[in-house]
């Protein structure tokens, strides 16, 4: 299932003061991929997500989204290149309705004055920092607001289109009946689905899901597994999932990367990873290995308690 390379991380690392939170991280996501990222708590998984989405700036290595180098770019720019995410602790816009949450993400791809392609091209040529492109963007935005204030027919049509797209995404995620409900009033499982719907609103090519199944019961997790595969096919995405639920990860991911203390300790097909002694030790400790007569691998630091 090999498609176009959408996301690439090459030897990415970040240091906070003296602490190496992530080191030597390699990753490649192609269209149609469904990969997993696992590891004990504090291993650096969410840090990796934050690096990929631009919340942190890597101190080492390079990250490319759809072929473009994005080190140091702001999160919204990286998002516009085609990378979207959900959050480990749900970060919905709580006071906004479900529909509005998705609408914000669906905000015009069309620009009134200068097209997205032209601005992107300028940025690409200037390796990300182009004042001309920023100025064009700013001009686009001011004109856009004028159209909103004047309520021009073109603007009204765009708003209808945005709402239509948002409603469609809600329908795909089974949330159309919650359209006008404030996000904070939704039950937990629906909030998680809303986060995914919102991320999809940005028309991503790669979707990063941070613990999408956290707090769900078995049935919900089963539904989620089906849903994730459906989304990948329906929207032609590449997917990277952080999860603690082993059944889910082993169930849907084609390849898994295992992190521990910021370092990749295993990478590959689910079966191989599951039996890798380093992975077992990271999750269960070396006393488990000894009790089961397995060989203790070369020195790795003791891990924290494995996740539930």
């Amino acid at each position: 299932m090999s498609g176009e390379v959408l996301l690439q991380a090459v030897q990415v690392g970040i240091e906070f003061g003296g602490l190496r939170a992530l080191h030597g991280f390699d990753l490649e996501i192609r269209q149609g991929d469904l990969k997993g990222l696992i590891g004990p708590n504090g291993a650096g998984k969410t840090t990796a997500f934050n690096l990929l989405t631009g919340v942190y700036v890597p101190t080492h290595g390079e990250i490319r989204v759809c072929g473009e180098r994005v080190n140091g770019r702001k999160p919204h720019q990286i998002n516009r290149l085609g990378l979207a995410r959900t959050f480990q602790n749900i970060r919905l816009f709580r006071a906004l309705t479900a529909l509005d949450n998705v609408r914000v993400a669906c905000l015009s791809d069309e620009r009134p004055l200068f097209t997205r392609e032209r601005i992107a091209e300028l940025r690409r040529r200037a390796a990300g920092r182009s004042p001309v492109a920023s100025a064009m963007d700013a001009l686009n935005n001011y004109v856009d607001w004028w159209r909103a204030i004047l309520l021009t027919p073109g603007f009204q049509e765009e708003e209808r289109e945005i709402t239509r797209r948002a409603e469609e995404l809600l329908r795909v995620m089974g949330l159309e009946h919650r359209r006008d409900e404030e996000a904070r009033n939704l039950p937990y499982g629906e909030q998680r689905r809303l986060e995914i719907a919102r991320a999809l609103g940005t028309r991503p090519r790669v979707l990063l899901l941070d613990e999408p199944a956290a707090g769900m019961n078995t049935r919900e997790k089963g539904d989620l597994m089906v849903l994730i595969r459906q989304l990948r096919d329906q929207f032609s995405l590449g997917l990277l999932v952080i999860e603690h639920d082993m059944k889910l990860v082993m169930g849907i991911c084609e390849a898994i990367t295992v992190l521990d203390h910021g370092v990749t300790i295993a990478c590959g097909a689910p079966e191989g990873v599951r039996q890798d002694p380093k992975v077992i030790e990271a999750y269960l400790g070396d006393s488990y290995l000894a009790a089961h007569g397995l060989q203790v691998p070369a020195r790795t630091p003791t891990s924290e308690t494995p996740a539930p």
Binding site: F16, T46, N50, V55, Y56, F87
Partner: protein, 306 residues
């Protein structure tokens, strides 16, 4: 050259007062992550308390050593109580609410105090400025050359008291259990609570300490400037807050450095242009510093956990 030296001395004198008030801001911000807008007005209350005590003591006693001591202690104790009351009834109920809420409350208290004291009835002093009694009879302490540079005795005493208070605070924060508890609370008050630290009490004590310091600074300010009026807290408070931010809010040595720097910059700008620009200097300086170092000189921009 002598002008320069004179400005230097005056700048340091003003700067230490700013530093004292800034310390209170920074300490409270450290434990509560709150900009206590009312801090300057607490200082004002302290000044008026000292004034009242001095009036009671009468002309002879107010300039004796015991009299001056009493004035300081009364003002500082009174403000400690005021600080406790404010924290207990206005800030504590809002501790887990969004910070904007507490900020608005702080502004409210600031206005209540400063404009309340401007009212003309009962014990409230009213808007007219008063002359703070001369508790330290001014005498020239050091004269250089032909009166080219003059250092007054009250400047020296003032500096001495300020330094004494700062050293005391430094010892308190870095060498006592209380200080350690305070620093723990400033990092994470929930974890500190889990470690058995009586967070409420520590915060209350921090507030009282900061308020007492402000009162001390207020008396020193009154000795320097003589005229006191209810709105003085607003401006001195704001400038001291600017000093704390310049040094990096939450950073104790930063507050001192910020205060001294601000005092110096203000004095030099006013000295070499005109005093009508005084109020703009502090904010202009702040904006320049924040543009270059968004966290202040010694502060760090805390990264939010995503």
């Amino acid at each position: 050259m002598s002008d320069f030296a004179q400005h230097l001395i005056n700048g340091v004198a003003a700067g230490t007062i700013y530093a004292l008030v800034a310390l209170g801001y920074t300490m409270v911000y450290g434990v509560l992550k709150l900009i206590n807008f009312a801090h300057g007005d607490v200082m004002m209350v302290g000044t008026f308390l000292g004034y009242a005590v001095a009036q009671q003591l009468g002309y002879e006693h107010q300039s004796s050593l015991w009299g001056v001591l009493l004035i300081f202690l009364a003002a500082m104790a009174g403000c400690a109580v005021l600080g406790f009351v404010i924290e207990r009834f206005a800030y504590r109920p809002l501790r887990d609410k969004p910070r904007l809420t507490a900020l608005i409350t702080a502004i409210g208290i600031s206005f209540t105090l400063s404009y309340g004291f401007q009212l003309d009835f009962g014990p409230l002093p009213g808007a007219a400025p008063r002359a703070f009694p001369e508790v330290i009879a001014p005498r020239e302490w050091l004269v250089v050359g032909d009166r080219a540079v003059v250092i007054w005795n009250w400047q020296v005493i003032s500096l001495g008291i300020a330094i004494f208070l700062m050293v005391l605070l430094q010892g308190l924060v870095y060498r006592t259990r209380f200080g350690r508890a305070m620093r723990a609370v400033s990092f994470d008050h929930r974890t500190a609570a889990l470690m058995g630290i009586p967070v409420d009490r520590i915060i209350a004590l921090t507030f009282m300490l900061g308020s007492a310091l402000a009162a001390g600074a207020g008396i020193l300010y009154a000795i320097k400037d003589t005229a006191i009026q209810p709105l003085m807290g607003l401006y001195v408070g704001l400038k001291a807050f600017v000093a704390a931010v310049i040094g990096g809010i939450g950073n104790v040595p930063g507050a001192v450095v910020g205060g001294l720097l601000l005092g110096l910059v203000e004095e030099f700008v006013v000295g070499y242009s005109s005093s009508s620009w005084r109020d703009a200097v502090a904010f202009g300086f702040l904006i320049v510093v924040l543009l270059v170092r968004p966290g202040g000189l010694f502060g760090s921009v805390a990264a939010e956990k995503v």
